[in-house]
């Protein structure tokens, strides 16, 4: 019996003007699996996640995106909202709402999805979720500008998981953090994803993070997935592009564009 993937991408292509960012991406992610997409800056990693979330409009697009076997590519309005309810997302810069307090950020999705929920109940749930990412209740009434980068990432993670999503997306979860804080965030991601049985799709160019949080790693290059395999095989992929990226070498088949 074939098991329906939680997320299935088939021939996903996105172009913005003359620039083809994604050029036929095929990827299946099983329920409860954590896949990390690696690749250089500007290779379309963020576009890939935003395409699944349905929050990016390209000038030209093709292919299908299915969640639990249901094609969501053309879904709009309330139908799309219903699909998006099972998503949580940690943005690269955390993207916290700077006019709201920490607990209002974490409880934002709870209040949006259940309009009968009182603010008091939302606050309690938000504080409980903050506890899961290692933040004490006394940060609940601070505003994001009063937090360090690492704490903002934790609040972003709490906001992503507060609505008990089935699928979580992580966009460069460790970018801009010191190595120790990056590892703390990685541990939190592993703990939340594995313990709650979530499906996760992460994008990063931090290989330590990719190895730690991914069951499988896929490499995106020039809009295509050029290698997909188990995380433990990434150092022995036999793919020159992957080897160059993983080892961070300037020399190799990937030529960095230093001048336009």
């Amino acid at each position: 019996m074939t098991v329906t993937p939680k997320i299935s991408l088939r021939g996903v292509s996105k172009a913005f003007g003359p620039k083809e960012v994604l050029r036929g991406v095929d990827l299946d992610i099983a329920r409860g699996e954590s896949v990390v997409v690696i690749g250089g800056s500007g290779t379309g990693k963020s576009v890939l996640i935003k395409s699944i979330l349905g929050i990016i409009e390209a000038d030209a697009d093709a292919g299908t995106i299915a969640i639990d076997g249901v094609d969501v590519t053309q879904m709009r309005g309330s139908e799309r909202d219903a699909v998006n309810k099972q998503f949580g997302m940690l943005f690269q810069g955390a993207a916290l709402f700077d006019s709201l307090t920490v607990w209002e950020n974490v409880g934002f999705g709870l209040l949006a999805r259940d309009r009968s929920l009182s603010r008091r109940a939302a606050r309690e749930q938000a504080i409980e979720t903050l506890g899961k990412v290692g933040l004490a209740a006394d940060v609940a009434d601070l505003v994001p500008s009063e937090l360090s980068g690492g704490m903002q990432k934790r609040v972003g993670l709490a906001r992503a998981i507060a609505g008990q999503p089935q699928i979580v997306f992580f966009d460069e979860p460790t970018t801009g953090l010191d190595p120790i804080m990056a590892d703390v965030i990685n541990d939190l991601i592993v703990a939340t994803v594995k313990h709650q049985g979530l499906t996760a799709l992460s994008i990063t160019h931090d290989m330590a993070s990719a190895r730690k949080i991914g069951d499988r790693i896929a490499m995106l290059y020039e809009g295509k997935l050029i290698w997909v395999g188990p995380a433990q095989d990434v150092d022995n992929s036999g793919n020159a592009f992957v080897d160059q990226f993983v080892n961070g070498r300037a020399e190799g088949p990937i030529k960095m564009q230093v001048r336009r």
């Binding site: 935003k50 979330l53 349905g54 929050i55 909202d81 998006n84 309810k85 998503f87 949580g88 997302m89 943005f91 690269q92 810069g93 993207a95 916290l96 709402f97 700077d98 934002f108 999705g109 949006a112 999805r113 309009r115 906001r159 609505g163």
Partner: protein, 257 residues
């Protein structure tokens, strides 16, 4: 570049903006009519646009009324027509100066702040975050600002009219030696309901335009701090120009022959 190609490029770009703005306004209006409506946010924006703009609009109005009385006097005195000053002050303020000056001042204050706030939310992915949290950015960010602009500008203009007339009264009575009760009576007799209504209609239109331009430019800003800065400038400039054009169109509708 070929000059004709340049003209074509500019025209196409302009038409592209007009089309996008029209779709943006249509989408925002359609969301105004469908739940959920965020009452708290509308209330917050009403205070931001209405209450906090009172000082700047009030100051503009009072000095405009004062200057109007003074300038009218220097001109009308040549023809011994000083008695027309109360009429000129009240009609100029209610029909034109009140709504246009309030509109331009609020465009500078509120249009810029809306574009900067929404633009910053765009470049820091906060608008994307709203979408992932089951919240439509149009409903959450655009609709409250549009409704607040539409509702608060008319109130601001009514206050500006009253303050402006009071400014004219102060100069006329205390500097130019007008009889206070004659001045007030002349003002009441000169102003017609249509004058006030036309000013209020203009104010509602200007409030909508200011919020629309602020939200539109902020929503589509890109490129970090520079993009947000450009969005802010565009919001104020485009709102000011559209206000002046709309002012002529509404004046033509009410008073055109």
């Amino acid at each position: 570049m070929n000059p004709l190609a340049l003209v074509g490029h500019v025209v196409l770009r302009f038409l592209g903006h007009v089309g996008r703005l029209t779709i943006f306004a249509g989408t925002a209006l359609s969301h105004c009519l469908r739940p959920p409506i965020y009452g708290r946010l509308i209330g917050h924006q009403m205070i931001e646009i209405g209450f906090y703009s009172l000082p700047v609009v009030g100051l503009t109005a009072i000095f405009s009324g004062m200057v109007l009385a003074l300038q009218s006097y220097t001109g009308f005195a040549r023809f011994s027509a000083e008695t027309a000053i109360p009429n000129v002050v009240v009609i100029s303020l209610t029909r034109e100066l009140g709504p246009v000056l309030a509109g331009l001042m609020v465009a500078g204050r509120i249009g810029a702040s809306m574009a900067a706030e929404i633009g910053t939310m765009r470049v820091t992915e906060q608008i994307d975050a709203l979408s992932t949290l089951s919240t439509n950015p149009f409903k959450y960010l655009v609709v409250p600002r549009l409704l607040a602009g539409l509702l608060m500008l008319p109130l601001l203009v009514l206050v500006a009219d009253a303050i402006g007339v009071a400014g004219g009264y102060v100069v006329s009575v205390y500097k130019l030696g007008f009889n206070p009760s004659v001045y007030i009576n002349s003002t009441y007799e000169a102003v017609k309901m249509l004058d006030v209504v036309s000013g209020v209609v203009k104010a509602a239109a200007f409030g909508f335009i200011i919020a629309l331009m602020g939200c539109y430019n902020g929503y589509y800003s890109k490129g970090g701090a520079q993009g947000v800065g450009a969005a802010t400038t565009n919001a104020v400039v485009s709102a000011s120009i559209v206000i002046l054009i709309t002012n002529y169109v509404i004046t033509e509708m009410f008073f055109g022959t």
